[in-house]
Point group: C2
């Protein structure tokens, strides 16, 4: 498989998982968190699939396309090591969906971000809340869900906080 | 359509066009030119679909993934404004396929590259040779071909040098 083939499958998995999660949380109140803005492509997808839902974006430094920026009120700037621990005070355990878009060309940086997401995001989810990530996460308190139909296993990772 | 949807369609169009062109030149001798290496994704795709074919890469400054670099003997470094005019002496009119991967976040830079490709690449093609580009090019001496099945019009542009 060429890198072009592989890139297509990765983006299709992202699309399918976000579309599936957006339907799955239709009855679940609470905000959505986008962890890592990058070029803004998945943020744009989240807001297109979840009109009216509050989406908060965590990013160290904004480098997205100008059309794909969240309003300042919904942008939480800073290193995950600081912003994720602080999120508990703001969000409690109300989050319906968190999407961790933390893959990068730097595997060590991705693993570090994955560790922070695994530690600090599960407590923010409400019961039934979902966590999507390109990387496998060590989240023993969450259930791992199977991929939506048509998505290869291991392309994406899909977790759910058990309902009380 | 979100930017994620749009990115998937763009890469699928790239994949479909390259696959189609790779089959179309099966009986046509001559090298392949990749104009713009970028992250190396389409170069990797070209070499996977055209094993044994010589592929020369034109790039201003290499920033590709280390797995996606051409051998030094097949890398032509420099600005298109210099390297494309010089290519006539090296390739004559022998090229079977040129893929111009010149889209970028900077529309003015893309248009400039497109102008250079339109001016200097058609003379390098052998009769029946193909030119693929993400941008529409002003190439009156080439025929515009329809997109392969399943690819939206205007996502990619596909040209052929008439056979003598």
């Amino acid at each position: 498989m060429s890198r072009l083939d592989s890139a297509i499958r990765r983006l299709q998995a992202q699309q399918a998982c976000i579309d599936h999660a957006a339907e799955a949380i239709a009855g679940l109140p609470g905000p959505v968190l986008e962890l890592g803005l990058g070029n803004g492509r998945t943020y744009d997808h989240l807001r297109s699939r979840l009109p009216g839902r509050e989406i908060f974006v965590f990013e160290r430094e904004v480098a997205a396309h100008p059309d794909c920026l969240p309003p300042d009120s919904h942008l939480i700037l800073g290193d995950f090591a600081e912003t994720l621990p602080e999120a508990a005070a703001r969000f409690g355990a109300t989050v319906a969906l968190a999407h961790a878009d933390i893959g990068s060309g730097d595997p060590a940086a991705s693993r570090r971000s994955g560790g922070l997401v695994a530690r600090f995001v599960p407590p923010l989810l409400r019961p039934g809340g979902l966590l999507l990530c390109e990387l496998e996460l060590a989240v023993p308190d969450l259930q791992r869900l199977p991929m939506p139909r048509g998505v290869e296993a291991e392309r994406y990772f899909y977790y759910r906080k058990p309902s009380a």
